[in-house]
């Protein structure tokens, strides 16, 4: 087991270096705007540009630049500096991680609880009106784009512009540490929007997988033992049906941590996604590079966590 984990971690590292190389090629090698000129802003004399080139090592060869970049990254976690504010990208990202984490983790709780709950009820009453209504709304939610859904809930429920003014709207986010209650209420709408589509997918997945599991021989065995139907479904059935959910849960969280751009933008939440969005509109490449790298890191970590979790969930995986 330990060897398995170490092997997965090493592979993750290799993958990360490949991603870094790709990013380097994309932002430094391929012809884009000259970073030194962007950094220089309005004071563009050849002398200043040459100075900037020298300070940031842009006059060195590309392999040397890549080596420097890697060294900075792995030894000092240095992600470079914003072209515009000159602030370290590391700091910019670090200040925004908590907002994104709040949004994604809270959203994940909402979508797992509702998705799994609705899925179980639908599976146990497959074909009923309740089942058809749930699966119908699931289809609508899966199809609805996040930004559209975000605008709709703001229009309906936001305390400033809504038809029924019950929840704080866009731009109301405050940190957990400064005001927990406000933090919670300001995130209710974003959580719902982030969770909607994914919850719908999970509900359909759990429904299908539970219906299949309930036909297994070991479910018959569990019933033959004289267990209550509740225990048969929630312990024996769900234990098997939940596996595919764990797989995609890790990946969904990983992906969303790196790219909750739309929801953060619609609700004006100062997270990584919004930072990235602003950086893209200003061609602030170091920030884009940093956030994309962070997204890749989240996805790689999520993959490793999923693989390890799977080994714990399915004892048959551990030994093969």
């Amino acid at each position: 087991m330990t060897r398995y984990i170490i092997r997965r971690l090493l592979w993750g590292l290799v993958l990360l270096v490949i991603v870094i190389a790709l990013l380097f090629v994309m932002f430094r090698v391929l012809p884009t705007a000259d970073p030194a000129k962007l950094r220089a802003g309005r004071l563009q004399s050849p002398k200043i540009i040459a100075e900037i080139r020298h300070t940031y090592g842009l006059d060195k060869s590309l392999p040397a630049q890549f080596w420097l970049y890697l060294k900075d990254l792995f030894l000092h976690f240095n992600l470079g500096f914003s072209f515009y504010s000159g602030a370290p990208v590391k700091e910019l990202i670090f200040n925004r991680v908590s907002a994104t984490l709040s949004l994604v983790i809270g959203g994940a709780i909402v979508w797992v609880v509702t998705g799994v709950g609705v899925g179980i009820v639908s599976a146990r009453r497959a074909g009923s009106r309740l089942d058809r209504a749930s699966m119908g709304s699931a289809l609508v939610l899966v199809s609805a784009p996040e930004y559209w859904l975000g605008l709709i809930v703001l229009y309906l429920f936001a305390s400033d512009i809504g038809q029924v003014r019950i929840f704080p709207g866009a731009g109301s986010y405050v940190g957990l540490t400064s005001d927990p209650v406000k933090w919670f209420t300001s995130l209710i709408l974003p959580w719902l929007v982030v969770a909607a589509g994914t919850a719908a997918i999970y509900a359909r997945l759990i429904r299908g997988s539970l219906i299949e599991t309930m036909g297994e021989d070991y479910i018959r065995t569990a019933r033959a033992k004289g267990l209550s139907e509740r225990r048969v479904v929630l312990r024996h059935g769900l234990r098997s049906a939940i596996n595919p959910i764990v797989t995609i849960l890790g990946l969904d969280i990983g992906v969303l941590l790196g790219s909750s751009v739309l929801v953060e933008t619609v609700f004006n939440i100062p997270g990584i996604g919004r930072l990235n969005y602003i950086a893209i509109t200003h061609a602030d490449f170091p920030i884009v590079e940093g956030t994309v790298l962070l997204a890749a890191l989240f996805i790689i970590i999520a993959n490793i966590v999923v693989d390890i979790a799977y080994a714990f969930l399915d004892p048959r995986v551990r030994y093969s």
């Binding site: 021989d217 018959r220 065995t221 019933r223 033992k225 267990l227 098997s240």
Partner: protein, 382 residues
């Protein structure tokens, strides 16, 4: 005579489906005495598994329509509310299934599945239940039970898994154990071990056993009584000795003649039963076996035979339209090594009307929705 442990009376089990009603069990009755063994024998789809699942109420979740009575110690299990039935399930009546790999939950340790079975009916601590689980694994002959209790099903061999399943069934010392094809998924050598284990446990614990199988060889040694099922009905029932010494139903003959015997000549041909089991949605008219019976006569497609006592043997019943004397002479011919055709000719019995064979294949075709294709009945056997 005292009340038997289990008495099934005129049990019907039907499943409504889109294609029509499946008559899985069609009015069967049998009894199991305390400490005795009943063997229920038949091909796949003869209703033997459904009837025993119904005993435990396990067909309720599948939308089955059940009528008749299943009296267990005087309580009618058909009419019992779910909660009361659950208290009997796995406690007084336990069941062992065919495939031990798919019947054990792959994600739970064998021990925890046994502990769950114990704690489902006994209010004991986890530690006590665990001790009982280890004891049970030892009882069913699993070596090193203290270690094995923490293993997962996939770490057990097929025979060990079935032993663990049996151990789980014995968790609450049931009065009745239903074993549904307990050896079918196992190697031949392991089959014998499992049957020997069941016999030993029956002696030690004094429980009654209903063993369900398609293999008469399996029940030959174990069963006191044997019921032969065909198309949802019991077509012959007698003590094990009588079934083997003087079988009365052509279907039973077919089952017996398709078992290879060590005593027979090496070149003796096995005689398969022709055709396939009938659709339980559109069953053949008259005697359900007539399309496959080598001795069927024209009116057998019309008259529905009832289970009747065999002359001179009070415990032997058969549902067959052939004359009693004729049946005995046919069986005598078959025992001499004659094929069904030879036996028929020797006794001057006309062959079955030609359309009977077609009925068999049409019924099979209709079940697959292909309509009335006419062709020779397919052959099954070895």
């Amino acid at each position: 005579m005292s009340e038997p442990l289990l008495r099934v009376e005129d049990l019907h089990v039907e499943f409504p489906t889109e294609d029509g009603v499946v008559h899985a069990v069609d009015g069967i009755s049998y009894e199991v005495e305390r400490g005795q063994t009943l063997g229920i024998v038949g091909e796949s789809g003869s209703g033997k598994t459904v009837s025993s699942l119904t005993t435990l109420g396990l067909t309720r979740t599948q939308g089955a329509r059940v009528s008749g009575r299943i009296l267990f110690e005087g309580k009618d299990l058909v009419a019992l509310p779910d909660a009361e039935l659950r208290a009997i399930r796995g406690n007084e009546i336990a069941m062992v299934f065919q495939d031990p790999l798919s019947s054990l939950h792959p994600f739970f340790k064998v021990g925890s599945q046994l502990i769950e079975a114990v704690r489902a009916h006994q209010d004991v601590s986890k530690a006590a239940a665990r001790a009982r689980a280890i004891e049970l694994l030892g009882l069913v002959g699993i070596p090193d039970p203290e270690k094995r209790v923490d293993h997962y099903p996939h770490e057990f061999s097929g025979g060990m898994r079935q032993r663990a399943m049996i151990g789980m069934a014995l968790a609450n010392e049931p009065k009745l154990l239903i074993a549904d094809e307990p050896t079918t998924a196992l190697d031949v050598t392991v089959q014998a071990q499992i049957l020997a284990l069941l016999e030993r446990l029956q002696r030690e614990l004094g429980m009654a056993i209903v063993i369900i199988t398609h293999d008469l060889g399996v029940v030959a040694e174990m069963a006191n009584e044997i019921a032969v099922m065909y198309a949802g009905r019991i077509v012959e029932t007698a003590s094990a000795e009588e079934i083997f010494a003087g079988p009365e139903h052509p279907y039973t003959w077919g089952l017996l003649k398709s078992i290879p015997r060590l005593k027979g000549r090496r070149d003796e041909a096995l005689t398969p039963i022709l055709g396939t089991p009938p659709s339980l949605i559109r069953r053949p008219s008259g005697c359900h076996f007539h399309p496959r019976c080598p001795y069927a006569q024209p009116d057998h497609a019309r008259i529905d035979p009832q289970l009747q006592p065999v002359a001179g043997e009070s415990e032997h019943h058969v549902a067959c339209l052939l004359e009693s004397q004729l049946r005995r002479r046919l069986w005598a011919e078959l025992q001499q090594g004659a094929t069904p055709e030879q036996a028929r000719e020797a006794l001057g019995l006309p062959p079955p009307p030609e359309q009977f064979e077609r009925v068999a294949s049409v019924a099979a075709g209709a079940a697959q929705g292909s309509g009335g294709t006419v062709g020779p009945a397919p052959e099954i056997g070895l």
